[in-house]
Symmetry: none
DNA sequence: AATGAATGAGGGTTCATTCAT
DNA sequence: GATGAATGAACCCTCATTCAT
C-alpha cells in the first residue's frame, strides 16, 4: 500500500498531513505552504501531482489508510472484548485532536468526501477503505461473541449500527465542553460500553 | 430571531443557503455567485457584510437557527414517543440531502465550525443553539417517560448520548450505499428505534 | 465673484477646503467624505457638479480666489513697504500650514495645476487669478518706490522675479526643519527683506 | 547607491519614472501600466514590492537620487562660477519639462512628500538627499569665493536662501507663458545671475 | 531531476455615479 | 429639490501553474 508512493510523494504527503493535523484547512492551504512543509521546491510538487487538489486529496487518502491500518493493529493487539473496545475509544480520543481523523470514515463513509470535496473524483475509491473499517468492527464483535458477552451474530447491519451508535454517543461527549465539566472521560467510556452491551443483548 | 435581519440580508442569506444546499462548497463560493443567487448587485453585499466570509457565516447560522426551530416544531406537533422519534429520523433523511444540515449540530456541537471555520470567530455563539438542540432531545425523552416506554429519568448525559447514538447509527445507514441495497429506510428506522429503547431500558 | 456660487455649492466647497486644509489629498478624497464634510447627501453633489473632480477643482479655484483677495486686503491695510512685506511673509507662514495655499500661485502659475491635474481643463482660466497675484506684487513695489526704499521702476519682469525670489528664499527656510533650529522666524524674514532690497537696488 | 537595487527593481523603477516624466500622475497610475512600462508581468511587481505605492515611492526616491547626483556631476564639470550657475539653470530648464524634477527638492525639502504623500512613511529619509542638494549649492558658492566674484563666506543660511531665491526667480519665469513673450531664456538667466550677485555682495 | 522566478487569470473589494422615492 | 440604497465597472493583489535554468 505504502509501496505505491515514492520518496518525494511521501515527503509531500507527510508535510500535508502535518499541516492539516495542525489545523490547516485543506481548502485554504497554499502550494507554497505544501512545499515548505515538505521541504522541497514549489515546482517539484507539479512533477508528482497534476494539481494542488490532487496532492491534498492523495495525502488525505494516504493518511486515512495509514490510520485505519494502525487502528486495526492496535485493537487486534488488545486481548478481550472490553479491552478492544476501550482501545477503539482511545483511538477516538487521539484522533479527535487531529483535524484529519479516521472517525470521519468510521462513522460515515461520506466523511472524507465531506471533508474535502475533491475526493469525490472517480480516481478515489473508498470501498476498500470502508471494508477495512467494517473489518475492525467485525473483529471487535467476534471477540464479544467468543467471550459470550454479546449474543450470537444476528442482523449484521444492526450490529454495525450499534457499534457506530455507541461510538457516536462517546464522540458526542468528546465534542461538548459542557459535558466534560460533569463527566470524566472514563465515565463517558463506561456509558458507551453499557450502551453497546444493551444494544447487542 | 428572524427580526434581527433586514430585507436585503435575508435575500443574501436565502440565496446563499440555496447555493450551499444545492451542493456549493462554502469555501469555493464566489461573491458574484452570492449576488446572482440573491438577485442583487455584487457591491450591495458589502453594504450589509464586511467580507464575503461574514455573509456566508451569517447565512449558515441563520439557516441552522431556522432548521432547528422548524425541526422542534415538527416534532412537537407529532403525538407519541414513537411518532416523535420517527419525525426526528424524517428530519434527518431530509437534511442529509442538504449539505447544510441540522445534523451537524445535533450530532456534535463543533459541527458547524468544522463545516465553515470562519464560524469560530467570537461573534458567533453556538451555546444558545446547542441548548435548543438539547431541548428537542429532552422533549422527545419526556414523551417516552410519560408513555412509560422508557425508564424514569436517570443520568441525563447517558440519555443524551443514547439519542445521539441512535441517530448516528441511523445516519450511518443513510451514508452507506451498500446498506441501502439490503435494507429499506423503514427497516433502518426500526433498528434505530430498537437500539434507543434497549439503551434506555 | 462669490456670487456665482449658490448656497449648496458653497457648502460643498467649504467642506472640501476644510478637508484639504486638514491634510486630505485631493486625489484620495471620497465622495462620501465630501458629502459628510458638507453636511449633505451624497447624491446632492451630483445635482451641482457633473463629477467628483469638478467639485474638487471648483473648490480649489474658489479657495484660491478667496485667499488671494484676502491676502491683497491684508497687505493693502498695512502702511509702508516694510510692513506690507512683513504681512506678505505672514500670509506665507499661515498658508504653509494649510495644504491648499496661495503660495502655489504666487510662486508659479502652474502650482495649482500641479496640485490637482484636473484643473488643466479648458473650463479653468487662471490668467485672471495670476493678474491678481501680480497686482499684489505691484502694489508692494509701488509702496517701495514712493518711500524711496527701492529704485524707480526698471524692468518689470526683473522686479517680479525679485519678489518671487525673496519669497522663495523665505519659503525655503519654512520648509526646512534643520534651519529652524538655527534661525528664528524673524531672522529669516529679515534675511528675505535684505535680499529683496539688494536685488532691487 | 544604485547597487541596492536589483535588475527587476530597476526595470520597474525605470518604467515608472518614464511614465511619470511623460506626465502620468502617480496617484492615478495603474499596476497594469507599471507592469507594461517595465515590460514584466503584473504579479512580478509584488515579488519586489509589497504594494503599488511602495513601488512608486521607491521609483521617485531612486530617480531623485540619480538626478541630484547627475546635476552635481554636471556642475562640477563646469569651470568657473558663472559657468556653474548657468549649468544649474540649464538643469532647471531640463527638469521643468519632466514632472518629476529635482527642483522640488532644491527649492523645498518637502517637495517630494508633497508630490507623493506615501513618501512620508518612516522608511524614507530625505536628510541625506537634502545634504546632497546643499552640497551643490556650497560647491557653487565656493567657486564664487575663489574667483572673488562674491564676498567671503558670511551667513551660511543667507547664502543658501540667496541661491534658492535666484533659482526661484528664474523658475518663476519658466512657469509663466506671458513672460516668455517678452523675455528670452538668456535674458531671464542673466537677471537671475544679477540677482544672485547683488544678494551676495 | 529540482527549483523558484515569473506570470496573469481570477476574484474580493471599493467607490463614483445613478435613480427611485 | 434632496437623498442614500443600489449598482457594477474598475482595480489591486493573490496564488496556482509554468518553464528556463
Amino acid at each position: 500500500m505504502d509501496k505505491n508512493y515514492n520518496e518525494k510523494e511521501k515527503k509531500i504527503f507527510d508535510g500535508l498531513i502535518r499541516l492539516i493535523k495542525d489545523g490547516a484547512n485543506p481548502y485554504l492551504i497554499k502550494v507554497q505552504e505544501i512545499a515548505d512543509a515538505a521541504g522541497i521546491g514549489k515546482g517539484t510538487i507539479y512533477d508528482y501531482f497534476k494539481t494542488k487538489e490532487e496532492a491534498i486529496a492523495g495525502a488525505i487518502v494516504y493518511s486515512i489508510n495509514k490510520e485505519i491500518a494502525e487502528a486495526y493493529r492496535r485493537i487486534k493487539n488488545k486481548q478481550g472484548f472490553r479491552a478492544k473496545f476501550d482501545e477503539l475509544l482511545a483511538v477516538f480520543v487521539e484522533s479527535i485532536k487531529n483535524n484529519l481523523s479516521t472517525i470521519n470514515l468510521l462513522l460515515s463513509a461520506g466523511g472524507a468526501q465531506k471533508f474535502y470535496e475533491y475526493l469525490r473524483g472517480d480516481q478515489y475509491d473508498f470501498t476498500g477503505l470502508r471494508a477495512h473499517a467494517d473489518e475492525i468492527v467485525r473483529h471487535l464483535l467476534q471477540a464479544g461473541y467468543e467471550e459470550g458477552i454479546i449474543k450470537q451474530p444476528g442482523n449484521r447491519y444492526y450490529e454495525q449500527m450499534a457499534v457506530h451508535g455507541a461510538l457516536a454517543g462517546f464522540a458526542c461527549f468528546l465534542g461538548r465542553q459542557d459535558f466534560h465539566d460533569r463527566l470524566s472521560l472514563d465515565e463517558a467510556g463506561e456509558m458507551s460500553y453499557t450502551f453497546l452491551l444493551k444494544a447487542l443483548n
